[in-house]
């Protein structure tokens, strides 16, 4: 009986391993977070995030961190500089303050954003960048 219940628990926990890494609503992390899997933030993170995959900040999520990721989706609140190797999408419910550097940046209607955007665009000839 005891063995059976232990096996059941193991199955339950390995099921949790199948999904993405989630930082729940009641959790606060202060410091550096690195990794190479998808991460979903519903809670709070302060510090730096370096991820080789997709970072999603949900509506309840609050992130105050410099971020270096492949893809970023923001539905919640974010303060910090963002470097993404692929895309950044700031959805309607998001509030973002910081500078973004990425090849693709999507800002939805309703989103609030303050900061600079750099898309590594090749400027047409003759255009002088104001300093």
């Amino acid at each position: 009986m005891a063995l059976g219940s232990l096996r059941l628990m193991k199955e339950k926990t390995s099921m949790a391993a199948g999904g993405p890494c989630i930082i729940g609503k009641q959790i606060t992390i202060r410091g550096n977070l690195t990794g190479s899997e998808d991460l979903v933030v519903e809670g709070r993170i302060e510090g730096t995030i370096t991820l080789r995959n997709h970072l999603t900040i949900e509506e309840s999520g609050v992130v105050e961190a410099d971020i270096d990721v492949a893809d970023l989706t923001v539905n919640g609140e974010l303060r910090g500089d963002i470097t993404a190797s692929q895309s950044v999408s700031i959805n309607a419910s998001a509030k973002v303050v910081g500078n973004i550097r990425a090849p693709r940046i999507i800002i939805e209607d309703g989103a609030r954003f303050k900061g600079s955007i750099e898309m590594d665009v090749a400027l047409p000839e003759g255009v002088v960048v104001p300093r």
Binding site: T13, A16, A17, G19, P20, C21, I22, I23, G24, K25, Q26, I27, T28, I29, R30, G31, N32, L33, T34, G35, S36, E37, L39, E42, G43, G47
Partner: protein
């Protein structure tokens, strides 16, 4: 209730606090402060001082633990550090080095 899962490729260097269950499959260095249950799974590595209600260790923990309810080291768990908790369980096969304080 949604659990928080720190996945196997995730490394956190710093502080984690909160009041919901936390499952660690990756690496956490620093400090963990929870009002609920902490699970260090097989493959999980924790180098941190831990303050929670219960801790269940199937992975590797280095640091001191203060639990308000229970600490359980499973057969595949490895623990180095001091434990202070009213209930402490060490399974056959577990590795442990440190002091135990059960408030006797």
């Amino acid at each position: 209730m949604a659990n928080t899962v720190i996945g196997s490729s995730i490394v956190i260097d710093g502080e984690i606090s909160g009041d919901e269950d936390l499952i660690i499959q990756g690496t956490v260095k620093g400090k963990i402060q929870l009002k609920e249950n902490l699970f260090v799974e097989n493959g999980g590595v924790v180098e941190a001082d831990i303050e929670t209600q219960t801790v269940t260790i199937s992975g590797q923990v280095t640091g001191n633990i203060r639990a308000s309810d229970k600490v359980e080291i499973r057969a595949d768990g490895k623990m180095v550090g001091d434990i202070k908790a009213p209930r402490i369980l060490i399974a056959d096969g577990a590795t442990f080095k440190g002091n135990v304080d059960m408030d006797v």
